[in-house]
Symmetry: C2
Subunit: 292 residues, 2 copies
Amino acid sequence: MDKQPDQALVRMLRDDRQHGSSELAQRVLAGLPDIIVHTEASTAAALRARLHDVADQLCAARPSMATITNQMASWKVALESFVGDDPERLRAHAVGATQRLQRQSQRAVEAAARNASRKLGTDQVVMTVSFSSTVRQVYQTLAPRIEAIVSESRPPSEGRQLAAQLSQLGIRTQFITDAQMGRFVSSADAVLVGADTVAADGSIINKCGTYLVALAARDCDVPFYACYESFKTSSLPAESIPIESYRPDEYNAPTLPHVTAHNVYFEITPPYLVSAWITEHGLFTHFPGSHC
Amino acid sequence: MDKQPDQALVRMLRDDRQHGSSELAQRVLAGLPDIIVHTEASTAAALRARLHDVADQLCAARPSMATITNQMASWKVALESFVGDDPERLRAHAVGATQRLQRQSQRAVEAAARNASRKLGTDQVVMTVSFSSTVRQVYQTLAPRIEAIVSESRPPSEGRQLAAQLSQLGIRTQFITDAQMGRFVSSADAVLVGADTVAADGSIINKCGTYLVALAARDCDVPFYACYESFKTSSLPAESIPIESYRPDEYNAPTLPHVTAHNVYFEITPPYLVSAWITEHGLFTHFPGSHC
């Protein structure tokens, strides 16, 4: 077991591939007070420097997730705004800042999900990929008057967890392999995905499979919506956003001479495939940027 | 063990989901002489009726595969053309017909693969889905001056077998999950797939995932070729071709209340996504139909 709570939090964030970035960012914010309290420092400046370092490590753990980057940037700004030398007062200030960010993010996710639920309405078949907590909230809001099509999203197959949660909500759900997405998209009334990051041009950075289902949705005249808290919007162009890759043995890829196996997690879905961006600020059929 | 060779052949055909339809059709034709010799009948008419029945059972075993349907139809025509009452002479005639069909099909596959190899040329990165023996022959023809991108094609993940064969041929191969196809298609110079059936309008009926990669290829300006022996061309419209489904436990799908899991094997790739159809008769940028 790790005795350093900051390293444990970094490790949790780095190793959890089941949850989406909003959920993980919430867990990070919930874990920070413990770190703030236990970080040793005799001056406010020393404490601030160490907490900045923690924030930077958290950002580096999941470079494809702008929520983490943006919330840590906001938190660092809050740390900078503290005036005084008393480390204990800075601790209280820093804890307050994480709690404010947590509430702000929770409210944004709820409002984004509410806006998406309104747009979709009841008695629709809604297809998704991966496991976004914002999208799950939409299903929950409309349950049981919504149907779902869920793809496995391999690896680590977090679609299986989503299907289990939808089952508990009493939602009629169709479960498919990722390769069947093209076959099933025409049975859906809409495709709704979350986002790990939304790039400066409105490109959606999300789990691999998202671009494929967006292409199929366009080809079948099914609307494709991305629903996310605006904390996820990055000022970087899509091509500059780091894309996470993991070890191919996560899906037991073959190891053979001349064969290189890949396990790229995320991909870019360009804005021309997005029917609408739905955030806490509303629904936008043209990408509103980060300042809506 | 099954003592009836006809039932064993039907079962082999029904249960083998690793091989493409040309390969399976070859195995069926290779297995028929044993059945012809061992089918009991005292008259030619009785023998013909029993062999017709075997042909019908083989067609029904894999309804998505026009190669089987077309070759069995040709074989039945050959049986009909026999004149006389001697069952032994009909046996010899029937065996001769299977051998002729086998040679014709082998030559067609070789010529189709040769035509595709010529079109691709050397030093290209060629992406594929599933495991087509015709496509494998193209890789083999151009080895080692070709690179491959191979998707898992789950279930039963026959892409793993293709990767193993390409590895043995010394071909540099990139192996990916099905969900990563959209991410990798832009690294390819061309996408080349086989077909289980080509419908009357040129739609390609092939393993699920084919439509998705064809959409991504179009979006990335990468040509998408289908390469097949013309035995695979059906006179039916795409929507009328039976699509095989299997038990979802083949991929260990969840069994949960309200959740229905699917394991549809094949899907339709419409002709507007096909850059060229390549058969033993040449390369066609407009679908040539079945009479080229």
